[in-house]
Each structure stands twice: as C-alpha cells, then as structure tokens.
C-alpha cells in the first residue's frame, strides 16, 4: 500500500469543502434512512445531476455518504416504530422494538450506533488494506476477464437479490438490451433508435436511473403511503451501560466480520449480512429464546453487520469496477459521468479520488456516530414530518434535476417513461435493481465480449481457456445452475421439502 497516497487522501478529505460534502452526504443518508420510503439507491439516483456541477471527488464523497449514512438511520425507525427505514434493518425490528417496549429504546439505539461505528470502521480498515492488493491483482485483466466478471456480477445480483430469480434475470437482460440503444461504437450503426436523433447517443444512465429508481419509487410510495405521521416512543438514556456494552461486544465483533465478508460479494450486501449476523448470534447464544424478546445482541449484531457490509461493498467497485449492488451501480454511473472508469487502474491514476473516498468514510462514520448518539433526538423528531409534505418536494427535485443535466425537456419525458416502467415493474413483481445494474454494465459487457472475440479470432472457447476468465465463467455456470440442482436435490429428499428456498430474500438497497 502506498502510504503517502493514503495520507494525501486524508489531506483531501480534510479540505473544508470536502468535509462539508461529506457532512451533507451522511446527513441526507441518515434522513432518508429514518424516513421510510426512498432508499439510498433512489436518493443517490435523484441527486446524480449534482455531480455535473461539483468537483468529482466531493461528489463521490457525498454520494457514498448517503449510502452508508442510510444504514445508521434505518435503525431508528426499526427500534422506535417497528417500521424498518431500510431493508437492512428489518431484523433489528424483532429485538429493537421489544427493547423499546421495555423502555430501553435509548440503549438499543446507542448500542446500534456504537456497533455500526465499530463495524464500519473495521470494514474501512479492511478496505484500506485489501483494496490496493485486489486492484493490483486485477491489473492483468483483459477484455475476456471483464466480460466474464461483469456477467457474473449481473448474475449474482439477480440471483441473490430480491424476488423471483427468473424475473430478476429478465429484468437484468432487458437492462443489457437497453444499453445497446443508440449508435454502435464499433460500426457506427444505429440500433433501436427508431429514427430519433435524441436516442442516437444512447439513453443516458442518469435519466434511466432517476426514472426507474427515483420516479418509480415516488409513484409507488404515493400509492402505499397511509398519510399519517408516526409518533415515536420517548428516547432517554442513549448512552449504553457498561454491562450492555460488555454483553454485546462479542456480537459486534462477529457482526463486523460477517458483514465485511458478505459485503464484498456481489449481491450480498447489507441485507443478507444483517440476517446472517442475527442468525449466528441466535445460534451460538446460551439461551436462544431471549432473541425476539429484547436481547441486546439482536440489535448489536445486525446493525454492526449491515454497516460493515455497506462499507466493504465498495471494494469490488473501487478495485475491479464491478458494482456489488444497486447503490454501487449508482456510484459507478456517477463515476462514469465524471469521466472516470472505475477499475484496477483507479488507485494509480486517480489516487486522490480512491483514497479521498475511502478516507472520507473514516470521517463520515465519526460524524454519524455523533449524529446518532448526542443528536439522535433531532432525527427522532423528523419522524413527525408527514410523508405527504416530502413527496412533492422530492418529485420537484427529480424533475427539475433531470432537466439540468442536458437542459433537455426530452430527458424529462424519458425519465417519466422509465418511472412508469419502474412502477409497473414493482406492481408485477419485478425488481428494477438488476435492470439498472445490467444497464450500467451493459456497454462494458458488450464491448469486452466483442473485443475478446476479435482477440480470439472468433473462437468463443477462448473465454474458457484463459485461466482467470475461465474460472470466473465456471463460477458463473455454478451460480446459474445452483437453483436447478437444489430443486432436483429437494425432490429426491422429500424430508427436506420444508421450503428452504425462500424466494423473496431481501436485497441490499431498495427499500421496502
């Protein structure tokens, strides 16, 4: 690791304007975490136009802050209202709300905040140490490796993510198809433009993301919202006692590790790691029956794990240029807008950005710790704001924001179109996440595949004979066929039919 570049990164973060954007990012993240409705991916999508107007490093620092800040905020509603602000805080509800009913809401929030901070910090240290190594390893990747890797990323997000696997795969494939709209970079031929000049340059990623995530969720919430504000329980005594800390220290340690490991996997992310961490605690506990009735570890472990995972999911993005979940796809898109292709060369070519973003997380998490322990009262009060008041404001930000990208009215209508598509997809049980992720990776997959075919002189077996791309593709096949194999196995052993498939596992970022 290049220690000088690492230290320079701190120099960049501590510049006043970067500190300010970091603060803005984590506060927005915290806010949308507290408010059920918009998730981090949608919020980042809505705020993407801002990246055109400010310095790249500041922009990414801010958008990253929204993502990990949301993990802190999601806890508050889980504990106080039994209403998870984010999908990754759903398991916190069980013990968090039980604690709140016993008048220990403050303790739960305090432990969650400390766990979050510890988990995130351990994860950032891991990120700091591991990321340059992985990037160094990935420098040798050529087009075949990239094609294979991007495909594996899309597949993993589709299979591990929310909802039915076939539907997720269809959404992802449609995303790949959408990415081909416009002029073909190899031959100059126009594809799927239907003679439209505006479509010839392709569909802007920001417009699609703002439509599918932003407008789609705004419309969806309009229907789901029940229009009333919630009155949260009183929060007192936020500082946990020494006994509570001692009791949850093991859970925090294990949660950090589980979160870090699962967060790195594409599609793993915050939700799965919070579930896995909770399950682990329950399994190793001397008295598992305490869980669900207000066990402090039941709050500490998932909250630690989801923050650790949120942080470590930056590793695949910053080192090999593959977004691990929908929020990371937004950041990937933001980097592309800024003219930066995330990948192994990032650490050498843009050390300011690489280390600036990583180191901003140390500071962002400190700010979040302050926001969520001494200042938690302010965020609790925000719960009293009626959702109906926020809806038109987010709608206006979205619509005026998309206009500012190219000063184009056409973009507004494209965004509305994708908003309607996103809304209808949700109604029909399709998640827009895999579609956006595949869309952002689409042109990489296509151009790498075609370049590889040129390298291999038209022989597709070349993908399998190169060691790294071959391994990745072998993994791809295993992941793709796993559900089929599992299905067959289950048929053979009827004893195990007690439905272990659980098709609607929650995914990292889109709120519920």
């Amino acid at each position: 690791m290049d220690v000088n570049a690492f230290l320079d990164g701190f120099g960049i973060v501590t510049q006043p304007h970067n500190l300010l954007y970091c603060l803005i990012g984590v506060v927005i993240g915290m806010l949308i975490g507290v408010l059920p409705g918009l998730g981090p991916a949608a919020t980042i999508a809505i705020l993407l136009p801002i990246t055109y107007n400010i310095d790249p490093v500041s922009a990414i620092i801010m958008l990253a802050g929204i993502y990990y800040g949301a993990q802190y905020g999601g806890t508050i509603t889980s504990v106080l209202l039994r209403l998870p602000g984010e999908a990754s805080s759903v398991v916190t509800v069980f013990d968090g709300f039980a604690l709140a009913k016993q008048g220990k809401a403050g303790t739960a929030l305090g432990i969650a905040a400390i766990g979050s901070f510890v988990g995130a910090t351990i994860s950032i240290i891991g990120l700091t140490l591991l990321a340059p190594l992985i990037a160094g390893f990935a420098l040798d990747f050529g087009p075949p490796e990239y094609a294979a890797l991007a495909l594996l990323g899309v597949l993993l997000v589709a299979t591990i993510g929310n909802g039915h696997m076939l539907k997720a795969l269809i959404a992802a494939a449609v995303g790949l198809l959408l990415a081909t709209v416009g002029r073909d970079t190899f031959s100059g031929a126009e594809r799927f433009t239907f003679g439209s000049l505006q479509l010839a340059d392709g569909i802007d990623f920001v417009v699609v993301a703002m439509g599918l995530f932003g407008v789609g969720e705004i419309l969806y919430n309009l229907e789901e919202r029940h229009g009333k504000a919630h009155v949260p329980a009183k929060v007192a005594n936020i500082w946990p006692s020494r006994a509570d800390l001692k009791q949850s220290s093991g859970a925090i340690g294990r949660g950090s590790l589980i979160g870090f490991v699962l967060g790195v996997l594409p599609g793993g992310g915050a939700v799965m790691s919070s579930l896995a961490a909770y399950a682990t605690e329950k399994r190793i506990a001397k008295d598992p029956s305490r869980f669900g009735r207000g066990a402090i570890e039941g709050v500490a472990s998932p909250e630690t794990a989801n923050n650790a995972a949120a942080t470590s999911s930056f590793i695949p993005l910053l080192t090999i240029g593959i977004p691990a979940n929908a929020s990371m796809a937004m950041l990937f898109g933001a980097l592309l807008i800024l003219g930066i292709t995330p990948g192994p060369q990032l650490v050498d070519e843009r050390p300011d950005l690489f280390w600036g973003v990583i180191n901003s997380m140390y500071i962002g998490n400190l700010i979040l710790l302050l926001l969520s322990i001494p200042l938690v009262g302010i965020f609790v009060r925000i719960l009293r704001v009626r959702p109906a008041i926020l809806a038109p404001i987010t709608a206006l930000i979205t619509i005026l924001g998309v206009y500012t990208i190219n000063n184009s009215i056409f973009d507004i209508f494209v965004m509305i179109f994708f908003g309607v598509v996103g809304y209808l997809m949700k109604k029909a049980g399709f998640e827009p996440g895999p579609m956006v992720l595949a869309f952002v990776l689409g042109s990489i997959v296509e151009s790498s595949t075609r370049r590889s075919l040129l390298i291999f002189d038209g022989d597709p077996t070349g993908f399998f004979t190169r060691p790294i791309s071959g391994t990745i593709l072998a993994l791809f096949v295993v992941v793709a066929l796993w559900p089929v194999v599992k299905h067959l196995l289950r048929r053979r052993t009827p004893a195990a039919t007690a439905d272990t498939s659980a098709p609607d596992r929650e995914d990292a970022d889109i709120t519920v």
Partner: protein
C-alpha cells in the same frame, strides 16, 4: 473463528433453519403493509411483455446484421440478449403463474396515475411558461389531493417550496431553468 466466517450458503443445517425462519418472519412482517397479490393474470401479462420485448428485439437485431463470431455485426449482441429475454419469459410463463409477488391495482392506484399526469403537465408547460406556475400546480395537487393536506398548509408549503427551488437553481446553482420571472 470458523463460526464467525460461516456464510449462509456454507452453513450447517441448524443455522440454515434459523435463517429460513428469520426470512419467513421478515417476509411476514413486510407483508403486513403490502397490497394483496394480483393473481395469475398479472404474472402472465408480465411474462408476455417480456416475451414481446425479447421477440421484438430479436427481430430488429436481425435487421442490423449479425455478422459472424470472427467479425461480430452490430446486431449480434442485441440478438443474443433478446433471445435470452424471450427464453426466460417463456420459462416464466411456464413456472411463474402462481407467484404471489405482484400487487393488485386498487383504488389507491389512481394516486400514482394522477402523479404521472402532473409530471407530464410540468414537462409540457415548463418550456412554454417557465417552471414556476407548473411547479406550484404540481405541489398543490400533490399536497391537497394526493396527500390530503389542508388548504392552508398546501398554499404555504407550495409557495415556500417553489420559492426555495427558484433561489436554489437560479441563484445558488446558476442553472438556467426556463423561468417566468
């Protein structure tokens, strides 16, 4: 240490069970707030739309020229992807009819429809008369009719919001939104 590193896929049976239980519990607590599922018709329509996209994409891609593997044409990749979409859609048609993951359109679904109309009106009017009046209208409709706010708070919040956006975009960010004043 080994405990700490176990991932759900590699976990022994008892952890799997807890995980499954948890997931069921989570799904249940989420389901309380969800609209009722839409039934087979929703699933079939969803799959058919995907099928149409796949077949249409494949037909158009054929027209762009597939080329050969040695010299891939502009149509090859979209063709492969479209065929994949169509194949997946057929698979979904066969196995997915009984999925419960769709949501029924209810009377509340009128709200998003009205929302879309206000979006379209804003998009259409903005280049003609600037963003201020259409934005005010959008806020008013959303607050009063979609959100059920009182007239008083509707007026106060809409005016304050539009004024804030006016200052933010035209003076703060210096972005030339089409404006009236």
């Amino acid at each position: 240490m080994s405990d700490e590193r176990t991932t759900p896929t590699a976990a022994p049976a008892d952890e799997r069970d807890i995980l499954t239980e948890l997931e069921a519990e989570v799904a249940e607590s989420l389901a309380e707030e969800q609209a009722p599922p839409g039934g087979p018709a929703y699933q079939v329509v969803g799959a058919l739309v995907a099928l149409v996209i796949g077949l249409g994409g494949a037909a158009l891609a054929l027209g762009y020229g597939l080329g050969s593997l040695r010299k891939p044409g502009p149509g090859l990749w979209p063709f492969v992807v479209s065929v994949l979409i169509a194949a997946l859609a057929v698979a979904l048609l066969m196995v997915g009819r009984r999925l419960q993951d769709s949501e029924k359109f209810t009377r509340a679904s009128v709200l998003p429809a009205v929302g879309v109309v206000t979006f379209l009106v804003l998009g259409a009017l903005m280049p003609v008369i600037g963003f201020e009046i259409p934005s005010l209208l959008l806020c008013a409709v959303w607050l009063r009719f979609l959100g059920g706010e009182s007239w008083r708070s509707t007026v106060v919040i809409s005016v304050a919001t539009v004024a804030a956006f006016y200052l933010l975009f035209l003076y703060g960010l210096r972005i030339p939104l089409p404006h009236l004043i």
